[in-house]
């Protein structure tokens, strides 16, 4: 594993140097970006190499005299390492031109440092091989990402975001502590080794605790409340990493625990699948309701985590129902979607970052027509949107296709598995449709039509490094979409590390499916080419004139008349009003010469509301009631002492 450690130490060095050189703005940015990306490349190459190899690498260092910091790189870890290093590499490159505010050079340097720390800690989490190591890396990951969220602490909402994130990550960590504690209680050692030996009821409790803990990091509904606040608050390349990679570490945790417990009860599968379905649908519905482009993307991350969980849930159900093909399809589909989502979500966040960076606003309804002035960004963003809607021939479709195949395998079963997998299939379809609505909305409002405000008018896209990262990711979306085979193999090899008890997974059927996908994609491209050809034939030397849009008889159209994002989403939100209450505020127009009026609407997240009502308020109330005990009167203070003694004397 020496390569691995060399890589992460290189990354860490980049972070530290950026702190040391904080005073020289450009220099420190350059150094940190170069070192970090170099480290990422190294790690990526190493990981890819290990992916093909069969030997499991491990290392361990003595820690606190009689414990060990143990690391192990099995296929699952390596798969996630590939994702981590790939995305972080591009994010680091992107950051060079993105963090170009010379007035906040120190803050930039600090961001660089914590970014490198985040990358390293994530890499360590996925390679950790005992509880101490895992929790150590996990907590450092939470802490460093917190500092990245709080980057721009001058705005109150970012502070709130940071606070929420801090609390949620700590509570989540505590749940994991509890889960591990129970395991320790049975095994009596911090090692992951003999975790499969604990009794089954304990296994279920442990899994539930860990699922809550990891789920709160992954943004599973209803533990996602922090996510839509925190991800927009961070700088965009950080949002890309957090949404693209960090939340996947939660998925990794769930998979790892599942593999370690090695207990194939249907409970796990149904639990995970249900969570996935809920997060998937509600995530995209809320995304549809957002005004802030980065919040929208954050919610859509929740949706995609839902899809991943649906895949994994199908896999677990497949295992418990003894249907290997279904199991492998589900797991590998989920893992494949982890990779794909990492690619297109970070692409989208980077695109959004460019938009925000240039226009200075995150409100969708203030933008418009950016595709004309930001060609590359717009194109990349459109490709990303197509991918995230799971449309062929892009990578999102590939992974969803595998999950569908797994789901349909489950439909051949009976009773609960049948019901669950039908739900999975239907909800996948619905999610797809909603995602389409959501992202046509983003594209249509932000990049097309006419600018809705001064902010959006002819803003040029600059920053070669930013464009490079986006371009690379966009190309990746297409390539993976057309040739999913090799990339899917990575996911498949990761599945082999889940010790599902299948001797070795045959490649043939999956290669066949992948082949079908690429065949269909190519076929479609051919047809498109043909049609384009026909079109160009018909347009050969024809007069093409340009004029205003047909206003349907209205002669003075203005940009204000364009359809807004809110109205675009209105009907669909209305359909889900039970889960996504929509609050409107518009004073009615009165009189013959009505005064100026306005319309405000916002969609509420029920989880957020209920968290307040169910968790926060009661606790506050309880502790408020308790506060009288410290009322400043010394007589009663002495009374407490006496009381304590008297009470204790009863137990003698």
């Amino acid at each position: 594993m020496s390569h691995f450690f060399a890589a992460i130490s290189l990354i860490l060095a980049g972070g530290l140097l950026s702190l040391v050189l904080a005073r020289h703005h450009v220099f420190s940015r350059a150094v940190s970006a170069i070192l970090i990306s170099a480290g990422c490349v190294w790690g990526l190459v190493d990981a890819v190499a290990k992916l093909s190899g069969s030997v499991i690498h491990s290392a361990s260092f003595p820690y606190l005299n009689l414990f060990f910091l143990a690391f192990e790189m099995d296929k699952l870890s390596v798969f996630f390492l590939v994702v981590i290093f790939l995305i972080c590499l591009l994010a680091a490159v992107y950051s060079f031109h993105y963090m170009d505010d010379p007035n906040s050079s120190v803050k930039t340097a600090v961001t660089g440092f914590f970014f490198s720390l985040l990358v390293v800690s994530m890499a360590l989490v996925v390679t950790a091989d005992n509880m101490i190591t895992f929790l150590l890396a996990w907590e450092i990951m939470s802490l460093s990402s917190f500092f990245l969220v709080i980057y721009n602490y001058h705005s109150a909402e970012n502070r709130k975001a940071g606070f929420l994130y801090f609390v949620f990550s700590h509570v989540g960590a505590m749940c994991i502590f509890a889960g591990f504690g129970i395991m320790y209680g049975y095994t009596g050692s911090f090692g992951f080794a003999n975790m499969a030996l604990i009794p089954e009821t304990a296994k279920i409790i442990v899994f539930i605790f860990c699922f809550i803990g990891f789920g709160s990091k992954a943004g599973v509904f209803p533990f996602h409340v922090w996510l839509p606040h925190a991800h927009p608050a961070a700088p965009s390349h950080i949002s890309a990493v957090m949404s693209g990679v960090m939340i996947k570490i939660g998925i990794y945790g769930i998979l790892r625990i599942y593999a370690l417990l090695n207990f194939h009860t249907p409970v796990f599968g149904n639990l995970v699948l249900a969570a996935g379905v809920i997060s998937g649908i509600l995530g995209v519905v809320y995304a549809l309701g957002q005004q802030d482009i980065k919040r929208l993307l954050a919610y859509s991350s929740i949706e995609n985590i839902g899809i991943v969980l649906i895949g994994i849930g199908i896999g677990m159900i497949g295992v418990s129902a003894g249907n290997p093909l279904m199991a492998v399809l589900g797991f590998s589909g989920g893992l494949f979607h982890v990779l794909n989502h990492a690619v297109f979500k970070s692409l989208l966040f980077m695109g959004a970052g460019m938009v925000v960076h240039k226009t200075g606003t995150r409100s969708i309804d203030a933008l418009g027509g950016l595709l004309k002035s930001m060609k590359i960004t717009g194109t990349a963003f459109i490709i990303g949107s197509l991918a995230i809607c799971g449309l062929p021939p892009f990578n999102g479709f590939a992974s969803e296709f595998f999950i569908f195949m797994g789901g349909f395998k489950g439909i051949a079963l009976d009773n609960v598995p049948f019901v669950m997998s039908s739900i999975a299939v239907i909800s996948l379809a619905v999610i797809g449709g909603l995602a389409l609505a959501c992202f046509t909305r983003v594209i249509g409002i932000v990049f097309q039509g006419e600018p809705r405000s001064k902010a959006a008018e002819n803003k040029k896209e600059t920053g070669s490094s930013m464009l490079f990262s986006m371009g690379t990711l966009a190309v990746a979306c297409v390539v993976i979409g057309i040739f999913p085979g090799i990339f899917f193999k990575m996911a498949l090899s990761a599945v082999s590390a889940l010790n599902l008890g299948y001797a070795r997974i045959p490649l043939a059927p999956f290669e066949h499916i992948a082949g079908n996908i690429s065949f269909a994609a190519l076929l479609f491209l051919v047809v498109v080419l043909v049609v384009t050809g026909i079109r160009s034939v018909f347009y050969a030397k024809k007069p093409l004139s340009r004029s205003g849009t047909w206003g349907c008889g209205f002669t003075q159209p203005t940009v204000k008349m364009q359809y807004t994002g809110s109205s675009y989403a209105f009907d669909i939100i209305g359909f889900f009003r039970a889960a996504a209450p929509l609050e409107e505020d518009h004073p009615p127009v009165t009189g013959r010469f009505p005064a100026a009026t306005h319309y405000k609407s916002r969609v509420y997240d029920i989880a957020e509301r209920y968290m307040n009502m169910v968790a926060v308020r009661p606790v506050m109330y309880l502790f408020d009631k308790l506060r009288w005990i410290q009322h400043g009167d010394i007589h009663l203070y002495i009374g407490y002492i006496l009381l304590a003694i008297i009470l204790l004397l009863f137990f003698i």
């Binding site: 504690g181 502790f623 304590a644």
Partner: protein
């Protein structure tokens, strides 16, 4: 030659009263250095006491002694700058009592005789009372009054408890010197009923001093009113000294086979303290009080861990060491905040990150450390305590423990983020002198290093201390 370690600061303390005002500052540092060297020597070659039977070198005592002298040394460095910046009327009284305080605490760590321990602990109360009253304000007077009275009454209970121990010896016709080291081997001979009674009284008595709820009531007042270096000492080491008394008594209990009894009581008090801390941290609007309550929380954690036994005790000791390091650094930073903003209320502060970056780093790092984030040691301690609780099968207790830790973290984080990031009311620049930040940095650095690497000698000492009460890692 054990006694010299606490006699030195005693003499210099008396000296400080007669020396001119500002001489005391240098005296503090000098004594700190000497004390550090002496205790390191003590640690290296464990000598016998002249008054054997009264004093002895025990592993748990050594641990707290090392912590004390390291802390005192760093705090004394801080104090120089602190005293330069705000001139106290009776400065040499302050320095003098600081030194006496040091000597009494050292005496606690070295005393072996039950009654001597009591004397030493009571003496710490008396030596620290004037420190709390340094500012001569009505509030500080009230704090001092409560501190002295409540602690004296509490510690009187401890005296009663010690008497019960002697009674337990009488009834069992055990005739050994009344020292912990002599009693522990013959513990199972002692009369169990009076032994339990003694433990209960001693727990409540020293628990008052340690700040276990519901006897903690004096603690927030005293810590918030005392000048920051004094608060740092109070919270960093005084509480440990009181804990030492309970620890030693618990040793006897365990040896007498009453470990479950004492363990249960300790766990209960620990949980109550944590809950009490949660209650008041949640809406606390005074940062020094908030830190004080967090001390109560940590004392609760330590008591809880001690009660669990097994790996929990190891965790408790680790928590004790790191809590001392971190909490004292936090109190010193809070002193800087007070200097910078001139207000005790959190609502009057803000934007610490922008206005006092150096202090911000120390303060926030301290906060992260105290709430159990790596790479600081409390993380390991809490982890061991939690897993220990589950291992011992106290599921409900562990649940409450974890839940209340979450609540406390929420409240603490809320307040700290207000201090650090909220928009500041004013923008008076504040020059952070090196002397005001480096002690904190060193303290935190120590905690950070100890989180990853514990020297074998120190580790051995910890293990000796832990094994004495059936603790340990297997």
């Amino acid at each position: 030659m054990v006694e010299i370690v606490f006699l030195t600061p005693f003499i210099t303390g008396l000296l400080a009263f007669v020396l001119p005002r500002t001489m005391g500052r240098q005296l503090l540092v000098v004594t700190g250095v000497v004390h550090l060297i002496l205790s390191l020597l003590l640690w290296k070659n464990r000598p016998d006491a002249i008054f054997a039977g009264y004093f002895a070198v025990t592993p748990e005592g050594l641990l707290s002694l090392l912590v004390i002298s390291l802390l005192f040394f760093l705090i004394s460095i801080y104090t120089i700058t602190y005293l330069k910046l705000n001139n106290l009327k009776a400065e040499n009284v302050f320095t003098g009592f600081m030194l006496l305080f040091l000597s009494t605490m050292t005496m606690v760590t070295l005393s072996d005789h039950i009654m001597v321990l009591w004397i030493a602990i009571e003496a710490t109360t008396l030596a620290s009372a004037p420190l709390i009253y340094t500012h001569r304000s009505g509030a500080s007077l009230e704090a001092t009054w409560k501190y002295v009275l409540i602690c004296s009454v509490g510690i009187a209970m401890a005296l009663l408890g010690s008497l019960f121990l002697t009674l337990a010896m009488d009834l069992a016709k055990v005739d050994v010197p009344m020292s912990f080291s002599a009693l522990t081997p013959v513990a199972e001979l002692l009369d169990p009923v009076w032994l339990k009674a003694g433990f209960v009284f001693i727990l409540v008595g020293y628990g008052t001093k340690m700040g276990l709820a519901p006897m903690h009531t004096w603690l927030p007042d005293a810590h918030s009113e005392a000048p920051s270096p004094a608060s740092a000492l109070l919270s960093g080491v005084l509480l440990n000294c009181a804990y030492l008394g309970i620890f030693k008594t618990n040793k006897i209990m365990v040896a007498a086979g009453l470990g479950d009894f004492s363990g249960t009581i300790l766990m209960t008090f620990g949980l109550i303290s944590i809950l009490a801390a949660a209650t008041f941290i949640l809406k606390q609007n005074e940062y020094k009080r908030m830190l004080a309550y967090s001390s109560i929380e940590n004392m609760g954690i330590i008591a809880f861990g001690t009660g669990i036994g097994g790996i929990g005790v190891y965790g408790a000791v680790i928590c004790m060491i790191h809590h001392s390091l971190i909490k004292s650094s936090l109190f010193l930073s809070s002193g800087n905040i007070l200097l910078g903003y001139g207000h005790r209320l959190i609502t009057d502060t803000g934007n610490l990150a922008g206005r006092m970056p150096k202090t911000f780093v120390a303060f926030f790092a301290g906060f992260a450390a105290i709430s159990g984030f790596p790479p600081f040691g409390i993380f390991i301690g809490e982890l061991f305590i939690i897993v220990g609780a589950f291992k011992a099968g106290h599921y409900a207790a562990a649940g409450i423990f974890i839940a209340s830790l979450c609540v406390i973290f929420a409240g603490f984080a809320n307040q700290v983020m207000k201090i650090c990031f909220n928009d500041a009311p004013g923008t008076t620049p504040f020059a952070e002198k090196a002397g005001l930040v480096w002690p904190q940095y060193i303290l935190l650095l120590t905690s950070l290093i100890l989180c990853f690497f514990i020297p074998d000698a120190l580790y051995q000492t910890i293990v000796d201390a832990v094994n004495a009460i059936g603790g340990g890692l297997q």
